[in-house]
């Protein structure tokens, strides 16, 4: 298709007609281009070096923070179940006989938070 099309040669001739003119002299030289290229290279190197420095500084800071991390406070030990009562209080109240009131003995026992109160009346069959 490319070589068989007669339009190809016509377009080729048209473009040759449009492009075949010297034009104004170039406004830059190879020295200008080289200078600009070197400046761009330098900027790229600087950017890369700065980026590497930032990464290294971040990594170093992370290591330092991990190494000097404050110790967490120790957790309190879990409560152990008591096998013997910690507190035992016994109160015995004796009412003198002959006063008309029934003789009475009161015993109070405390085990941790629980309190058990037992009252025996004189002659109570359960007191034995």
């Amino acid at each position: 298709m490319d070589s068989a099309d007669p339009d190809d040669e016509k377009v080729r001739a048209l473009l040759a007609r449009a492009g075949d003119q010297p034009g104004p002299p170039l406004g830059f030289t190879s020295t200008t281009i080289a200078r600009r290229g070197r400046r761009i290279r330098l900027l790229r190197w600087g950017g890369a070096a700065a980026g590497a420095l930032v990464v290294l500084a971040g990594a170093g800071l992370s290591v330092l923070l991990l190494a000097h991390r404050p110790a967490e406070p120790a957790a309190p030990p879990p409560p152990t179940p008591a096998t013997t009562p910690a507190v035992t209080t016994t109160t015995v109240t004796t009412t003198p006989t002959g006063t008309g009131a029934a003789d009475r003995t009161t015993t109070t026992s405390h085990h941790f938070t629980a309190t058990t109160t037992t009252t025996w009346l004189t002659g109570d069959p359960t007191s034995t």
Partner: protein
């Protein structure tokens, strides 16, 4: 990395610049139709070429340079400001000339109406004499796209020039 004979010195670049800068600017001029803009494009292309110089193979320099010129032109066309502003060194009313000058202006004006990508295909195919495959490689597209864009570009050029399309060709003269 099997690079063949790397060219890495500024002297080599200066030689290449002296030999090819004008041809690259002519390509850029056909693409954009403005000498000043063509110079800007060539300058950008040459700077990119210089930056890539150490790793370029000497056999692929021209292809690389052409690719950079065309892609720089297309990238500039995509920018919004380029659509709003149009820099030109010529007044809107073109001077009436005779002979070659008038023909050249007519062809250039017709070429300017062709969409940029089709224009790039036309310039690479018919000015730089690249094959369809080389043109596709330079533009980063398929060979089918190159063929269709070339056909559309030629049709647009023919539509714009009218009877001059045949008259200005060698057969018509």
């Amino acid at each position: 990395m099997a690079y063949s004979v790397p060219v890495a010195t500024d002297d080599d670049f200066s030689e290449y610049f002296a030999a090819r800068a004008h041809a690259l600017r002519a390509t850029a001029y056909l693409l954009c139709g403005d000498w000043h803009r063509a110079e800007d494009i060539t300058q950008v292309a040459m700077t990119k070429l210089y930056l890539a110089w150490p790793r370029l193979r000497s056999v692929g320099l021209d292809a690389y340079a052409r690719k950079v010129v065309v892609r720089t032109f297309l990238a500039e066309n995509r920018r919004l400001w380029r659509k709003r502003e149009h820099l030109t060194h010529q007044p809107p009313e073109l001077p009436t000339g005779t002979g070659d000058t008038e023909d050249r202006l007519m062809v250039r004006a017709a070429l300017a109406t062709v969409p940029p990508r089709q224009r790039a295909v036309l310039v690479l195919r018919y000015w730089n004499d690249l094959s369809v495959e080389e043109t596709a490689e330079a533009l980063g597209c398929s060979t089918g796209t190159v063929k269709s864009q070339a056909a559309r570009g030629v049709a647009a050029l023919r539509r714009r020039l009218g009877p001059h399309f045949d008259v200005l060709s060698p057969d018509g003269r």
